[in-house]
């Protein structure tokens, strides 16, 4: 179904972090941006669609105007809003927001870090854009910071702090189907596998809480009102977002799932784990019976690699890209 294409080399290897690959497709310029985190650096590659041109950039995690302090980065992700695209980088020290090409940092938010380290680690993790103008970022305390983003400029403000999770946020996702009918448009996941479903607005509203199984939910997606969640147990669960009804459970992987992605136009689901496997599935929702069908379509094994990032490169799922711990390349697969 898919075959391997030429890999893109990156300047450093990928670190073992959940969801360690972000992809931004820029159709008007026939370019795709990829970001991969390595320790305290974000590797950005801009790849032209004809495969002939690659340009690289590296972003460091640091407070503006402070020369030496860097910290380990937890995640880098593109946030697509109607008016603009931003690249958000979260680390132990705070949250950085850049223009999508990484050229200028437009916003910095410092995390509250105590003078002497406490037993609980401090970091930000879990990034997504929600509706017209919000970017949400999770924190190790379980809080979710909601930033209000103007259509241009750097006047980004912290609009709200959502405190519902008690464990560190692992991932967040917004509704990707584009459907206006879905009430819920944000899902957040934490280290104990708890999921919160939200409706965005001036004040975000908690619609539902889906309890975890004491097993970290490392990656979550929201599509057509369905939450798709990947866990450290290697399982994928599909829930109806607003009610929490379990639609399906897949024993998908033999090790921790590190990344999930959905191609919204085709309903293809991508899962990747430390067991070296990437799997492609198809989801079909039947609204009348409120059931979901899951079909397994394809496997790829990346030999001797613990996969840490996997994303579709387009909305149909025609191509996908994969990163692995200690690997200095982005592996690409395209439909045959």
């Amino acid at each position: 179904m898919y075959h391997k294409e030429k890999s893109i080399q990156i300047k450093n290897s990928a670190s073992a972090l959940y969801n360690n690959l972000s992809v931004l497709r820029i159709a008007p310029r026939r370019l795709t941006y990829f970001t991969v985190v390595h320790a305290n650096v974000v590797n950005m590659v801009s790849s032209s669609w004809d495969g002939l041109n690659y340009s690289h950039r590296q972003l460091q995690s640091k407070e503006p105007n402070v020369a030496t302090s860097t910290s380990l980065i937890m995640q880098a992700a593109f946030c697509v809003l109607p008016s603009r695209d931003l690249l958000v980088v979260t680390s132990q020290k705070g949250i950085q927001m850049y223009e999508s090409d990484g050229s200028i940092m437009v916003y910095w938010h410092a995390l509250d870090t105590p003078e002497t380290p406490t037993a609980q680690a401090v970091f930000a993790r879990g990034i997504c854009a929600v509706s017209e103008n919000y970017i949400c970022v999770g924190v190790s305390s379980g809080a979710i910071l909601v930033f209000d983003v103007p259509s241009k400029g750097s006047n980004i403000t912290l609009s709200e702090e959502l405190e519902e999770h008690k464990e560190s946020i692992t991932d967040m996702a917004s509704e990707t189907s584009g459907s206006q009918e879905c009430i819920a448009n944000l899902v957040s996941a934490d280290d104990e596998g708890n999921l919160c479903v939200w409706k965005s607005g001036e004040e975000f509203q908690l619609l539902n809480k889906i309890p975890g199984f004491d097993m970290s939910c490392t990656s979550a997606k929201l599509w057509k009102g369905i939450v798709v969640a990947g866990y450290g147990s290697g399982q994928i669960r599909l829930f109806e977002a607003v009610t929490g009804i379990l639609h399906a459970e897949i024993s998908a992987h033999a090790r921790w799932i590190y990344s999930l992605d959905i191609a919204p136009f085709s309903g293809l689901l991508l899962s990747a784990a430390e067991d070296s496997y990437v799997r492609v599935w198809h989801l079909a929702l039947t609204p009348e019976t409120n059931t979901v069908e899951v079909a397994h379509l394809h496997n790829e094994c990346v030999t001797d690699t613990q996969i840490c990032g996997a994303k579709f490169c387009d909305g149909d799922g025609y191509a996908f890209a994969v990163t692995g711990y200690d690997l200095s390349e982005i592996i690409r697969y395209v439909q045959s």
Binding site: S15, A39, L72, A254, H296
Partner: protein, 355 residues
């Protein structure tokens, strides 16, 4: 990232160091002509004394207190400094010529460190669940106990430390332990030093990367991949479909013991050299863990950490009358040392590993 990595790193890396020391000391226990009392030969008594000294220093209460404070993991350079000092805790001396040399290259300690770190990297990478990192640590502690079993005072220190580790780490969730593991994976990232023992046992490829099996039992608590279950809105199972996972995973085995003693089941972290002595274990001649490019100063925070750790170490006072034992950990050829000095820092290219 995690602020609780240090105790586990010292136990595991320190453990690997002790395994190698033990193996080397045993290898030197008979002289070439079998005379047994020639200079540079170690008696059983000497070996035990060294083990007791080093273990006693690592597992001293004050040192462990310092390690258990929440703090960031430091650099390889600092780690080497700490471990060197720990090894010096005994009246044993590593090859003095190389220790006195000013400059970044200390062949004995560098290679010893490379070997330790690669063993540790393997353990962290392939341990089935993040929680099993604790079993790996407990395996090290079990083996260390064996090394000092004849000395109750030191044995007691190890037991005490083990109890404290259980107390601190048992309460961490799987997610927190995975964060700890991810922090350790950053620490050992990009190290692909080839180790002859690993190559021989097919756990490492010639390019230095470890072999990750896609078969065998799944970790405890994980289902074998291959099943899709769907449910109706009333949570009744509607269908069960199998899919081809392409892998050869089988059902989980029972869980190992997380207590002070017990069958850990997992073999990672146990003394792999125990079966191998007196055979030597070598790393490839390519330079491994390099000091950072700026040789000047460690970051201020790391210097502070280092100072605290050194201060908390109880080391032997060496009397001048003691001649001191000497040991050459890696009987390096002269050619190999010269070759190493000429090489640039690079990933290992194709080529034979030493030994």
């Amino acid at each position: 990232m995690s602020v609780r990595t240090l105790p586990l790193v010292l136990i595991n890396l320190g453990g690997e160091m002790l395994y190698i020391l033990d193996q080397r000391l045993r290898a030197h226990s008979t002289s070439e002509d079998g005379s047994g009392t020639a200079a540079g030969v170690w008696s059983e008594h000497d070996r035990k004394r060294v083990m007791n000294d080093v273990v006693g220093t690592i597992f001293s209460k004050s040192f462990m207190d310092e390690l258990l404070k929440p703090q960031q993991l430091f650099s390889h350079r600092t780690m080497k400094t700490v471990l060197t000092r720990l090894a010096h805790a005994s009246i044993m001396r590593l090859n003095p010529a190389s220790m006195d040399r000013v400059g970044p290259q200390e062949p004995d300690l560098d290679r010893l460190y490379d070997l330790m770190v690669m063993a540790f990297k393997y353990q962290v990478l392939v341990c089935p669940r993040p929680k099993d990192l604790l079993l790996v640590s407990y395996n090290h502690l079990d083996s260390i106990r064996q090394l000092v079993r004849d000395t109750p005072v030191v044995l007691n220190q190890v037991d005490e430390t083990h109890r404290r580790i259980i107390e601190v780490y048992s309460s961490l969730s799987e997610g927190q332990l995975q964060l700890l593991r991810q922090t350790l994976l950053v620490f050992v990232q990009d190290l692909h030093i080839r180790v002859s023992l690993f190559l021989k046992n097919h756990i490492q490829n010639p390019n230095g990367r470890f072999v990750l099996p896609t078969s065998g039992p799944v970790p405890h608590g994980v289902q074998v991949p291959g099943l899709i279950r769907t449910f109706d809105p009333r949570s009744r199972e509607v269908s069960r479909t199998k899919f081809q996972s392409g892998a050869g995973f089988s059902g989980a085995v029972r869980e190992g013991s997380f207590d002070l003693s017990g069958d850990r089941l997992l073999r990672l972290g146990s003394n792999m050299y125990a079966a191998e002595y007196p055979q030597e274990t070598h790393t490839s001649t390519k330079p491994g863990v390099q000091p950072e490019d700026s040789p000047n100063l460690l970051a201020k925070e790391e210097l502070n950490q280092l100072a605290c750790l050194m201060g908390s170490m109880k080391t032997q006072n060496l009397s001048k009358a003691e001649s001191g034992f000497r040991i050459n950990l890696f009987p390096a050829d002269q050619e190999e040392e010269e070759e190493e000095e000429e090489e640039e820092e690079a990933r290992p290219a194709a080529g034979p590993a030493a030994g």
